[in-house]
Symmetry: C2
Subunit: 480 residues, 2 copies
């Protein structure tokens, strides 16, 4: 089938069109009827479920418990934390009528749950023995989007939001950084995105936070994607909602709270980190189908081949491989190859009568590296498991090299503008919000983070020559 | 600690107060700030997660794929299916403002998703090769409740809703009944609720359905709880949304669709099917903690006992048992016993220095049956696994016997009113909605279902002496 029907605009030609066409054509997602909403189709939702399972396990292993808090938050709750309501007001969706009547107090559809969870924490915490209180919820949230983009910025999205309360700053900060490390691990080991963990500058903090940490991934157009954030909220929400405990001397103290979230945005990150002109490239650990088998035979031979393929698929499934047999009679093998390449399946096996007679199958890797290889059917489960691991490793390496090749340490303004035109710049910065604004106005680049692993460094601001802040270089880039 | 602080009103005294106090005191749930909403606390949410995992596996094993559809549905969508909008209108919550502006078209917060999924199915289905289309989503839904009751009737609740499209009635009906059977299995084998599967009478059908099937459980006050429903929607939604396919002769036909749902209401069912005066009784397969170990020792001995208890807990965990060690220093063993009885933990182990010396522990079962038994620490994993299985079986048997003892086959009106005062009545009914209404007005009982397994029977209506309908007896009872 011709490119115009099945294929997508090449990534190299127009990254944005490539992305918008691909998410739909790969059957990951579709626009919902209400502005900015998305329908996550089974293929896309399976990616989310696989990511969710990995993240949920780690959230539980670090001592957190899942709970569920209401979707509707009284408007007055949001107003209790001044910065918080200021930050979220423009994005709120509000229920004014319910049960056939106008409500006395409008209900906000949660954009995030610090306020309602703060209210409940205040009821649940009374003694130091109740701390730390370690909660998480998997939920949908709503933030009205004027310029929606599937997965990246949608009016409704799915996420987990962790909310914890602690006796002091040290314990809350340990939690904030622990969850950032969990996000980094999930991004790197599961999504194959080698993110940079770091702290946001004051201008980029979460509304109501004292410190905000982030993991930033580089997409194949050189732009950054904030892929998860972890906030130390100090005593801001504890004050607003009265989250207090009596310490072991019997005195009342305010709790220190944290919150942290990762969302369906990660799927957008996977697409833009690994995809190419042919379509998606899914890391094996998130691929709904890790291996697709295409039987190549017609008529009498067709049935024998299909029977052998089904047997092989059963063996692969038993070995824990997510396998799919494409037995559609109405389309050609060539169509199937293109289709599964577009949909990002890591490995493809082709089996015809001659392969069957020889006891082999032809293995093709999604990135075409190492050409096609004949593998013995007998060894298929072990060989493919190894191939999947190698593919996962290959993707992280490729993405790391790409990121390194597009990140430059710069000391002059021309170098800076040049670096952020195609990637990231490591630069010294004065830390003044107005200077950040000027940089953004001129280059569209923003401070993505102050990398945790950055070496001590200081000097003059790359833009304004004032003395640098933070004691480290800041990572700048354009971002989604 | 005294009953008034930790305990609950005895079930036998006031079932309703018992329930309302218990759900909070057992830390399952709490009222949310917006009217009728609930906060599901970790202990309650874990029950939901365990149920969810069992149901999700079965939904996938029967060929369905999970997806996610938007929370917000344009008001006009609901109006396309006349009965549907009439049924749901009084319960809708409506977003009229978003992003700081009044919306051109109000958005309904989904009460159920037939309409928005119907719209998408129409885009995805074109040929008979696309059928059946088997979808499911895990989501929150909102139905405005004037008289909320935690888990049973709340403004927002969590559920899964399956939505499928088929080429003909036979296939859609097969699906409808298949999912009813899945619900029956999950209720019986996981929640230990021996439900009765059957069909709803026309007056009790889902708004927009051609046929509605249900599973009905009997609570310990003799009332019924509708615990899951499965609907054959005919071509009603296919017509409203244009879900059509071309058959193998190339002609356009309307799809036949189904929908089916099970919700957090099931947690209420578990509480009311098994609980007693002391509190919750959780079936082992849904218990967050299947075994709680209470170390009984102080001072020097305390440390040795606690070390041994921790070792035992690790062995039980390795054996796949969900175990919790209650090492709270600030409360007495007696308090802990009451606490875990209130919270419904199936098995409790008590270990003191003398037990430790003898290499044993004292096992107490939540229902107190068979007294306390000394078990050998060495055999603990195998013994407890068997005890948990026995406990699960015991609960189903007990609930089945209870239901049978409270269900009577009746042929006269006095027998009928007597039966539904404390349980269920199997009666012949004329099938006229007005007659159903009169029965409800007089006795508060409604037709729960026409049991699938009911034997052929006919005669005159138990209420009005008109000829009976359905060719079977109908199960009547008061209901939640």
């Amino acid at each position: 089938m011709a490119r115009d029907e099945r294929g997508v605009t090449p990534q190299s030609e127009d990254f944005s069109s490539w992305y918008n066409e691909l998410v739909t054509k790969a059957q990951l997602v579709e626009r919902g009827p209400a502005k900015g909403t998305m329908v996550i189709r089974p293929y896309g939702y399976r990616v989310w479920e696989l990511l969710q399972a990995e993240l949920d396990r780690r959230i539980k292993d670090t001592g957190h418990e899942n709970a569920y808090f209401p979707l509707f938050i009284p408007e007055s709750y949001l107003k209790r934390e001044a910065e918080h309501v200021e930050g979220f007001s423009p994005e709120l969706a509000v229920v004014t009528h319910a049960g056939g009547k106008e409500l006395e107090e409008p209900l906000v559809v949660r954009p995030t749950s610090e306020t309602v969870i703060g209210e409940m924490m205040a009821r649940w915490v009374s003694s130091y023995r109740d701390l730390p209180l370690l909660l998480n919820q998997w939920a949908n949230v709503v933030r009205w989007e004027l310029r929606p983009r599937m997965f990246l910025r949608t009016t409704e999205f799915l996420w987990q939001e962790g909310h914890t309360a602690h006796a002091d700053e040290a314990d809350a900060m340990r939690e904030t950084l622990q969850m950032l490390a969990v996000y980094e691990e999930v991004a790197r080991d599961i999504a194959a995105i080698p993110v940079v963990p770091g702290e946001k500058t004051p201008g980029e903090r979460f509304a109501g936070a004292v410190r905000t940490f982030t993991i930033e991934g580089m997409m194949r157009d050189g732009k950054a994607l904030q892929s998860g954030t972890s906030h130390y909220l100090g005593t801001n929400f504890a004050e607003a909602f009265g989250i207090q405990f009596s310490n072991d001397a019997g005195q009342l103290e305010l709790c220190h709270t944290t919150s942290w979230g990762m969302s369906t945005r990660m799927i957008g990150g996977v697409i833009m980190t690994h995809g190419d002109d042919k379509g998606l490239v899914l890391p094996p650990r998130l691929a709904p189908y890790q291996v697709v088998i295409v039987p190549i035979a017609r008529g009498d031979q067709g049935e024998a081949v299909l029977a052998a393929v089904r047997g092989l698929a059963a063996r692969l499934k038993d070995a824990g491989i997510r396998v799919h047999v494409d037995d559609r009679p109405q389309v050609s093998p060539g169509f199937k190859f293109n289709d599964w390449e577009l949909r990002g399946v890591p490995l493809r096996l082709e089996i015809g009568p001659r392969d069957l007679a020889a006891g082999t199958a032809l293995l093709a890797r999604r990135l075409g590296h190492e050409g096609k290889t004949a593998i013995r059917l007998e060894d298929a489960p072990e060989v493919l498991k190894q191939e999947l691991e190698d593919f996962q490793t290959f993707l992280v390496q490729r993405a790391t090299e790409f990121r390194e090749s597009r990140t430059r340490t710069v000391d002059t303004w021309p170098e800076f503008t040049d670096a952020v035109a195609s990637g990231w710049a490591r630069a010294l910065h004065c830390g003044r919000p107005e200077c950040e604004d000027e940089i953004k106005a001129e280059t569209a680049a923003t401070p993505r983070c102050i990398p945790l692993a950055g070496a001590a460094d200081s000097g003059t601001c790359v833009r304004c020559d004032a003395p640098s802040a933070y004691g480290k270089r800041v990572l700048f880039g354009r971002a989604y």
